[in-house]
């Protein structure tokens, strides 16, 4: 898929514990402040609602229903794989990206591979799509523009 961002990290805990800590302790490790949280003025509590169909949310005031939904959980395989949708507050209606984490057992612990992808998703009514409704949008770009970027960066 095009335009994916990939980041990896190694931890000295096994995949099951890594998955547990990632999801259950999310509010403890998720960085605070405007660069990392979803509301410019208030810090809420980050929470994964466990299981597929659950959500990643930031809760400001649960009783009042003041919650920001980052996205739905698409894949929940403890110790192995986690996929969730990602919508930032400045995304347009209908725009959504996807984050996938793979928890791979390695000598002495776990390697986590995170991919954030799907930037090319656009609502159907986006002007760039006019007359192109039948062109499959996702997947058509392949590694094309990563290559493009690399080439141009070299040139600049």
């Amino acid at each position: 898929m095009s335009g994916k961002v990939a980041v990896a990290v190694r931890l000295a805990v096994d995949p099951a514990e890594a998955f547990r800590a990632f999801t259950e302790d999310v509010d403890l490790w998720w960085q605070r402040g405007i660069k990392f949280r979803f509301h410019p003025r208030k810090n809420g509590v980050m929470r994964f609602e466990p299981g597929e169909g659950g959500r990643l949310v930031e809760v400001y005031d649960e009783a009042a229903g003041d919650i920001y939904e980052v996205g739905r959980i698409l894949v929940w395989q403890p110790g192995e794989r986690l996929v969730f949708e990602w919508r930032a507050p400045n995304y347009r209606e209908g725009q959504v990206t996807e984050v996938e984490l793979r928890f791979q057992p390695v000598e002495g612990g776990t390697r986590i591979l995170l991919e954030h992808r799907g930037w090319e998703t656009l609502p159907g009514d986006h002007p760039a799509r006019h007359g192109l409704a039948d062109v499959p949008f996702l997947g058509t770009m392949g590694g094309w523009w990563q290559e493009q970027l690399a080439a141009l960066k070299e040139r600049l």
């Binding site: 335009g3 961002v5 990939a6 980041v7 990896a8 990290v9 190694r10 931890l11 000295a12 805990v13 514990e17 890594a18 800590a21 990632f22 259950e24 302790d25 403890l28 490790w29 998720w30 960085q31 660069k35 990392f36 930032a88 400045n90 995304y91 347009r92 725009q95 986590i112 995170l114 954030h116 930037w119 090319e120 656009l122 986006h126 002007p127 760039a128 799509r129 192109l132 062109v135 949008f137 058509t140 770009m141 094309w144 523009w145 493009q148 970027l149 080439a151 141009l152 960066k153 040139r155 600049l156």
Partner: protein
């Protein structure tokens, strides 16, 4: 994200303009140097109006620019603008930086108290 990052609409615009195989191949071709509309039409075996339409999308989204060829005011030359590609690259680096910080913080957290089970 940092102020240096281009606004998301800008990135949308760039990506959407590139969301077409013909336009991507045009950009490929323009990478080698400026071309006339006629050269592009010949290379792609599509109609003149179709070429114009693709060039218009690329131009309106600032991926390419149009100039007049010296000595022939009627011939238009198209060339690639570097800026949108640099913006895209910069923006992807911002996203990578975001997750690098997050995973770094997560690693510190997970390794601090491994295997302690539930706690709040």
């Amino acid at each position: 994200m940092r102020e240096a990052a281009p606004p998301p609409e800008e990135i949308d615009r760039i990506l959407s303009a590139l969301a077409d195989p013909t336009r991507r191949r045009m950009v490929d071709m323009l990478r080698e140097g400026p071309r006339r509309a006629g050269d592009l039409a010949a290379a792609f075996a599509i109609s003149g109006p179709a070429v114009s339409r693709h060039l218009r999308v690329l131009r309106e989204n600032d991926l390419i620019e149009e100039s007049r060829e010296a000595g022939d005011a009627r011939a238009r030359l198209y060339s690639l603008r570097a800026q949108p590609f640099t913006e895209l690259q910069g923006w992807l680096e911002e996203v990578a930086a975001f997750w690098t910080v997050q995973l770094g913080a997560f690693k510190a957290h997970a390794e601090k108290k491994p295997r302690r089970g539930k706690r709040k």
